[in-house]
Symmetry: C2
Subunit: 186 residues, 2 copies
């Protein structure tokens, strides 16, 4: 792993665990094990650090969306299955960029919006009904925030992840069945 990647991952890690407030250049430097000058050789300022993380997210998300489109269980189930935070490279980049967006980074918001719309488009193409598609995507959003943000929305203590996801996938089936019946009755 290159020094550049190590620095970027340290920044990501700090965004996730400490928030934008804690992701100072000093903290990044300490975690990545380089000096301040070393950091500034690779990223000329803090903005460049944020831009690089956003680029990393775009690349990972593009790949994920292709996987979602090709998933044998369909995009809806894929979305809900994968919305539980497991600490994948995509999860980490996504939450890091969400933190940036929360700190009013316009570029971060724009990228998140594009990813979100891609999800919505795939789910809509599968289920047909915009209302049901919206509900499924919102379910994924809620799950993501519930599970994924340390210190964000509190996690359900009950959720022994695996089985609670199975339950939610059942709910997704109920919604898909309803969407299908809407299709037939048109």
């Amino acid at each position: 792993m290159s020094t550049r990647d190590r620095i970027l991952s340290a920044y990501e890690e700090l965004l996730i665990n400490e928030g934008p407030r804690g992701a100072t250049m000093d903290a990044v430097v300490a975690l990545a094990g380089v000096s301040k000058g070393g950091l500034l050789y690779h990223f000329k300022n803090k903005e460049a650090l944020a831009a690089a993380l956003i680029t990393r997210l775009q690349e990972l998300a593009a790949e994920d969306i292709r996987t979602m489109a090709a998933d044998p269980e369909g995009p809806s189930r894929y979305l809900v299955r994968e919305s539980v935070y497991v600490g994948s490279a995509l999860d980490r980049a996504l939450i890091g960029v969400v933190r940036l967006a929360q700190a009013s980074d316009a570029e971060a918001s724009a990228v998140l919006e594009r990813i979100h719309r891609d999800w919505m488009d795939l789910v809509l193409a599968e289920v047909g009904s915009p209302a049901i598609a919206r509900a499924i995507v919102l379910l994924g959003d809620g799950l993501y925030y519930n599970e994924g943000l340390p210190g964000g929305w509190p996690r359900e203590k009950s959720s022994s992840t695996a089985e609670s996801v199975a339950e939610l996938l059942e709910v997704v089936e109920v919604l898909k069945a309803h969407a299908a019946s809407l299709q037939r009755s048109r």
Copy 2:
């Protein structure tokens, strides 16, 4: 409105729009139109400012939960109806405290967790099925983040709020009907 309340609301406003990063004492002072000394008379340090906002949220949330329990359409529909951000005093305090929690404020997280559990308890008592209750609360969470965070998760451009909420309430009915059928088949 007292000076104290004006200061606290300025802090809340900055948390929402600029994030914890931007909610500096200087910024609060500028927005509230008082001097730094004036602020520090009412709140002896920044921690006191955060604690006061959390207290404000607790009071507003306690009242809201009583309203939710007594709503004629039931807690589930109330939750989804009210989860769309409309800028009420509760909405604002809630998002402000979410921002604090994201900045690793333990007290903020604890209060959010209690509110969240109260919602879950009411919805569960109404629908009977934990899985369906969880889905409904997650739907509210997703909605809240989608609509409520400026620069957070992007808002659907399609959502002409009123009708998209009506659609989601339809989805809630589908879920409630399914929960009821689960109850009967036990």
